[in-house]
């Protein structure tokens, strides 16, 4: 899946962020290659969400560069910024669906108002995306009528409709009841298998082992370990990553 010979699709260099007088990200860098899936793990408060939001300019970094296909964006230029964001999809922990719109309208609204698509075209595209996440039959329902897993799948469909080159996923299953996690992971797995480039913060270790090309362990605003899941999670490797993961697995009551 990895194509290391080429230039990265997205490049993050020396990103630093201060919020509320504290340094939240300390010169974070990563290269994201086409078709790659990187997983961010690490303790809560380590800066995973901040990093992901910086990568979409939802938070402006104080220092550092973000390049998509070798192009740099001026975040103060509204047109460039909106163009960039369309190419970088974002999935949030708590879904953030638009509560006043049905599932299909959640997916189609940006197609119409940002892409300028006609009503029918946008609707058809939205229906196609909903069926891709297995929700064709829920298209007319409002967010409040959907389960958490269904909401997250709608939010994935909404992001996919913009044809993003990269998807950023911030703990997409953390707000879900346990029995709803797998339906969302199944959708993300099929994205990965179809070559979507992704960065995902998650604590789903089985999923990470099976699908991550690289694991980044973040703590106190730094990436302190990175490598393939095999390396970092090998029995007896003594990594912080392994240590952290055995802790969460213990809490969840299973073994690594």
């Amino acid at each position: 899946m990895k194509t290391n010979d080429k230039t990265p699709l997205m490049r993050v260099q020396g990103l630093s962020v201060r919020l509320g007088g504290r340094e939240i990200l300390k010169s974070v860098s990563l290269d994201l290659y086409e078709g790659e899936m990187k997983v961010l793990i690490g303790p809560s408060g380590g800066g995973k969400s901040t990093l992901l939001q910086c990568m979409n300019y939802l938070i402006l970094s104080d220092r550092g560069e973000i390049e998509l296909e070798d192009r740099h964006v001026d975040p103060h230029n509204a047109r460039e910024l909106c163009g960039f964001r369309q190419q970088v999809g974002m999935i949030f922990q708590d879904f953030n669906l638009f509560d006043h719109l049905t599932a299909v309208d959640n997916v189609s609204i940006a197609l119409r108002k940002v892409r300028g698509m006609g009503k029918t075209e946008a609707r058809d595209r939205a229906m196609a995306e909903l069926s891709r996440v297995g929700l064709s039959d829920k298209a007319r329902l409002y967010p409040a009528e959907l389960s958490g897993g269904q909401k997250q799948r709608v939010s994935i469909a909404r992001a996919l409709a913009m044809d993003p080159k990269v998807m950023l996923l911030d703990e997409p299953t953390s707000a879900l009841d346990p029995e709803l996690v797998s339906e969302v992971l199944t959708v993300i797995r099929s994205l990965a298998q179809n070559g979507m480039t992704m960065v995902m913060a998650t604590h789903q270790m089985g999923f990470t082992r099976a699908l991550a090309d690289e694991v980044l362990f973040m703590q106190e605003g730094c990436i302190i370990e990175q490598g393939s899941p095999k390396e970092l999670l090998a029995e007896g490797s003594g990594t912080r990553t392994l240590d952290f993961c055995s802790q969460i697995l213990e809490v969840e009551g299973c073994t690594p």
């Binding site: 939001q53 979409n56 939802l58 509204a78 909106c82 163009g83 964001r85 369309q86 970088v88 999809g89 974002m90 949030f92 708590d94 879904f95 953030n96 669906l97 638009f98 509560d99 006043h100 609204i109 940006a110 108002k113 940002v114 329902l141 409002y142 409040a144 009528e145 939010s155 909404r158 992001a159 913009m162």
Partner: protein
Amino acid sequence: MNETLTVLLDALPFVLQGAAVTVTAVVGAMFLGLFIGVPLAVGQVYGGRAVRFVCDTYVWFFRGVPILVLLFLFYFGLFNFIGLNLNAVAAATIVLGMTSGAYQSQIFRGSILSLPKGQLKAARALGMSDALAIRAIILPQALRLSIPGWSNEYSIILKDSALAFVLGASEIMARTHFVASRTYQHLPLYVSAAVLYFLLTWAGVAALRVLEKRVRIKGYVH
């Protein structure tokens, strides 16, 4: 007793025409207040320092000065000064609307702030500009949440509209006063006026409740 009834029946068409004037002024003021209140609220929540200052100043001015003073200030003062020749009803509508704009902005502001923050983030992440996100995502939800506050505001403007009487606007209060001062049937006439105001309040609140049900989003509890 018979005489009272005759006076009331004779006065009824005259006073009801006043009710039409009152309703026109109140509905006009509600809509003017809406068009002023929404940008004020958006400015207060999302604006930069200068925009927030302008909006705050507007709100404080209209909340801080009694309506009676504002009516005189605008009708006899400002409108004359700028050479605007308005009749009393139009002037009262504008003053009530501008005042209501200040109060309505606080209703909308509260509604906007009560929405989950993530909605704006999600809209931005899809490539929407802030203006588009506010228009297409934030306001449709905030306005729905504002309807109960809006119906409260309606009942307040309706009652404030009686003050337009002092400008000589021929609304309910002015016409009732006119008849009462000629027939000396003060008690039954003002009781009728009170009942009329009460019925208008009730009808407006009921209409807004219907609107609230109409635009309610399924399953949405906020």
